[in-house]
Subunit: 274 residues, 2 copies
């Protein structure tokens, strides 16, 4: 159990909610301006762990976060799925026709775009963070401006929810991972999911051969993502998530992949949250 | 050859540069505020074609653009790779120590983050569009503010380049696709690349089986991307780009995939730009 966790955004953000729901007892949070800052805070030991959104149903993978984890040799030690519900909120005693502008993170605005088609008088303005807008509306007493943020943000910053769950896709899951400094393996026998990275020559059938091995070893692929490798146009990197019933199946597959691929790296072995 | 092309951003943007480099003769451009607007402009026939960034070496795939193409049944008819060079620019006769703030698109700021570590006095501010900042610096005569944008933007808006190519990765390719309304197939015999989408049951080995077929049919996979399908957690969608020497190999693979997968869709068949 970590004592201190770095989150992207401020209290009231979705990362903060994840920190509350995942850990059994309360943890201190370090509020960070960017994902890059959460990594810096973990590396200089101000926090034991960082929480990072890694993919969602609308935008897919957040590739820069994969790169941050990979290039800083962080270890993925867990995952969590949060059903992200976006609420429209403002200072109390205003109705939606009193709202002139909505400020929120571009991703939240994108996820709620259909809702605002019914309110063409509202101007959508991009902001850095969902919860921070809620905080500023309270501290500046900004009438006529609304935020799109979590119920926790409404509660923390004394705003009234005008419309709940305004995102287009009602069941709106985001996957978060927990990362820490590389500490070596603990007991792995009860773990059943892994994130790996490897590189392949761009040769016909090379990826098929790797997937055949995984299938033969009783490993399920739950996610695959190819990325061209900068400066080496004929090589490709793959980020792959796999699940397995027995850790020794994964051990076996890893030994074979080590021979078939280059730069095989286990980014983390952890407990499947699904 | 299209007469009118919708671009994201204004003249001087990287999308504008692509429109100049790809077509043999000059085309009119329709400036759009968002990728969603470029699609709307194509659908209501104000433009013959839209240009969309679809992936880059830093952020990977721009998944919302895949979704826009797919859900609006647009057809990919071509691709282009632009080596995106970011330049720092401001009103003439200022040196970098006179610059207090740099405004640019979050992606441009991310790609140039390492450069600005050497200039901690400069505040980085997120903006909607790279070229628009350049335009505004000129129209507002904003001394002390710099933009990160293209050489074309510096030229169009009379700014001076303080530092050229400030992005961390010097060879910084972005892939753009050209999309139009679904018009049916023209002559396909000379085309050698395709973007397809299909769905699979989440069953061990199902993706390996598909990749084996592609390999057997002499089809190369140049990109693969899995996406969970919202509301059906046990099915996965895949966006796959393939290249081939002969169109009839692709035709054959398509017939087999049609039996092995569900919802097979050919998003476009076009000429490989590599």
């Amino acid at each position: 159990m970590p004592k201190t966790v770095a989150i992207q955004g401020i209290k009231g953000s979705f990362h903060h909610i994840v920190s509350q729901q995942y850990f059994e007892t309360a943890v201190d949070v370090v509020e960070c301006r960017s994902f890059q800052d959460t990594v810096a805070v973990v590396l200089n030991k101000q926090a034991d762990m960082a929480i990072m959104a890694i993919e969602n149903s609308i935008a897919g993978s957040i590739i820069p976060n994969y790169a941050l984890i990979d290039s800083n040799n962080l270890q993925v030690v867990g995952e969590y799925y949060l059903d992200v519900q976006h609420h429209l909120m403002a200072l109390p005693n205003q109705d939606i026709y009193a709202i002139k502008e909505v400020h929120s993170h571009p991703m939240a605005l994108l996820q709620c775009a259909a809702f605002f088609k019914g309110y063409p008088h509202i101007k959508l303005v991009e902001a850095k963070d969902t919860a921070e807008v809620a905080k500023e509306i309270q501290s500046n007493q900004s009438h006529g401006i609304a935020a799109i943020a979590s119920a926790l943000a409404a509660e923390l910053f004394g705003l009234q929810i005008l419309n709940a769950s305004i995102q287009t896709i009602k069941h709106n899951e985001t996957r978060f991972v927990f990362v820490q400094r590389l500490l070596g393996q603990g007991t792995t026998q009860t773990l059943d999911k892994a994130s790996i990275k490897f590189e392949l020559e761009h040769k016909r059938g090379s990826l098929a051969a790797v997937l055949n091995v995984l299938s033969d070893c009783k490993i399920n692929v739950t996610k695959i993502q190819s990325l061209p490798i900068i400066e080496t146009p004929w090589k490709y990197a793959f980020f792959v998530d796999v699940t397995f019933d027995e850790y020794k199946s994964f051990e076996k597959a890893k030994q074979i992949l080590d021979l078939m691929t280059t730069h095989l790296k286990v980014i983390g072995v952890y407990k499947n949250a699904k």
